[in-house]
Amino acid sequence: MTAEAKLAPIRKGLLEFLVLKIVGARSVYVPDILRRLAGTEFATQEGTLYPLLSKLRREDLVLYEWQESESGPPRKYYRLTAAGKAQLAALDEYWILINRTIADIGT
């Protein structure tokens, strides 16, 4: 198994965490999320993002509101729920913890 093949599932697992982070920073609609991730290791597509956001909404971590736009139909703006904020804080904390562990181990 190549390094890339091992990294792919890690990136995939982390995408949800990153989406929570982006939605947590401010209320966004899907193209904002795509733009934020474009050019990073986590660049993704609508075909991936919509099902992921619907899963997060079912888990009651995000919610959306319709907002009118100057051009075209209204847009869904996503933001975190209280449960979403709590989970993001927990993930953030855990991420820092495992980073420290990875840095410390084997040295």
């Binding site: 198994m1 949800e16 899907v30 609508e46 075909g47 991936t48 919509y50 099902p51 992921l52 899963k55």
Partner: protein
């Protein structure tokens, strides 16, 4: 007379599509619905995707043109990407699966599909190569195919896969019958 365009309602937008683009978008959405068959939010996600297609096509239409063709639709669909269900295996993970025959969507028994999956190749390429080899070997390729059919195990049938056509289903039961006979003979 020629049918020039179809009026398509994609979620909250109405657009004109030419026949080819209409067929393509219909196929894309059918695939999305199929992938999301078990998802309780299927309708909502498909509506989101419809809106994404509409927005992308509108953005790509040159000023003055009103009919969406494949020239706008294909890059739009490429950018949107096929529907990925969170937590399901990706194509790269699937490629790591063992060498097995795949009955769903097979032409004969699923040998080419199995080889394609194992080596991460396009199944059409393998099928063309198989037919060319069949012609080049004057039919000798049939023996190779039969040998592979008997030797390669069958992948378990997947509920989400394409339907198994009549011939692959028959080949599969034939091979299982022969294997059972051989197993009895060896025992």
């Amino acid at each position: 007379m020629q049918r020039i365009s179809v009026t398509v309602i994609l979620n909250r937008s109405t657009l004109q599509f030419d026949a080819a683009a209409y067929e393509r978008v219909e196929r894309y959405l059918a695939e999305a619905r199929h992938t999301l068959a078990d998802n309780p939010d299927q309708a909502e996600i498909v509506a989101d995707l419809e809106q994404a297609v509409a927005d992308q096509c509108t953005r790509r239409l040159a000023a003055g043109s009103t009919i969406v063709t494949l020239a706008e639709l294909q890059p739009a669909l490429d950018e949107i990407g096929s529907v990925q269900v969170p937590g399901s295996s990706t194509s790269s993970e699937r490629a790591a699966r063992p060498l097995q025959q795949v009955s769903e969507g097979a032409m004969i028994s699923g040998v080419c599909q199995g080889l394609a999956r194992y080596f991460g190749l396009d199944v059409s390429l393998l099928r063309i190569a198989a037919v060319l080899l069949l012609l080049a070997t004057g039919g000798g390729m049939i023996l190779v195919y039969l040998a592979l059919m008997l030797l390669m195990p069958y992948a378990p049938l997947e509920r989400s896969g394409k339907p198994v056509r009549k011939i692959p289903a028959k080949s599969r039961s034939f091979v299982e019958f022969v294997r059972a006979k051989l197993g009895v003979a060896a025992a």
